[in-house]
Structures are given as structure tokens and as C-alpha cells.
């Protein structure tokens, strides 16, 4: 699966990988981010 040109829903997690980090990474691979959220399970 090639990330270039994909439109991405980013669903990060506070105790895993957060949304800003995922967003930066998928953008570096050429994807567009439609939505980004960091979930927090306590």
C-alpha cells in the first residue's frame, strides 16, 4: 500500500503513538491528513 496520495484518518493514542507524530510521519510519505485525534484510555 502506497501512502502517496492517500487521504488519512489519524487516530493516535496518548500511551502509544500520538496523533501529531503519526501526522508528521504520513505527511513525510506523501499522504494528506483529513482528520487527526489522539485518544486517551484511562
Amino acid at each position: 500500500m502506497d501512502l502517496r496520495g492517500k487521504r488519512v484518518l489519524v487516530i493516535g493514542e496518548r500511551d502509544g503513538v500520538n496523533a501529531p507524530a503519526i501526522e508528521a510521519c504520513v505527511r513525510s510519505a506523501g499522504a494528506d491528513v483529513l482528520y487527526a485525534e489522539t485518544l486517551c484510555f484511562v
Binding site: E13, C25, L39
Partner: protein, 103 residues
Amino acid sequence: MDLEGQGRIRQVVEQAGTDGVIAVLGANSPTAVEMTALTLKSGDPSYAGSLAGIALGIPSYHILEPEITGQVDGALYDRELALSALAMDVTEVIAPMKAIRES
């Protein structure tokens, strides 16, 4: 995925459609990853959120799957992902992803 998040995603998808849309997840447990991936593909399995009964068909990937990390800028990987990759059991966490995408 919480109920408010389901509502926001439903709004985004209603406006933008689902063509070429994928989800990239960052959760650190197989259960959380599985629930989110199922919700985005087939609808909320708990029937509690606004995606209940709505099969969006959106495939989910984990940010630490080799298929994804292989496409990420190396310096960014080192800065943003390397520590998480050490801290979580990546093999266990990404185990449900492929099966859900192909089911």
C-alpha cells in the same frame, strides 16, 4: 474509539467521501487496535456510537507496521516512532490488522 470520535469521523467522511481514505492508528494494545479497525471497516461492533451499522469500508493500518514505517522519512522515524517501537510489543499490537483488512 470513543463515541464523540465516531461522530467526528462520520462528519468528515460524509463531507469528504471514502475514496482513497485509509486510517493510521497508534494504539498500543491489540484490543484497542482491533476495535478501531473493525469500527472503521464494518461499523461500531458495540452498536453504541454513531458508526453503528455503518460499514465505511475504510482499511486501517498501524503506524508501526513495516509496510508503513518503510515509507516514513528516516529522521522522522527516529524522532517520532523509534521509542514507541521499543516500548510496545509491535508484533502483538499489529497482529489483528492484516486479518481485519482482508476479511
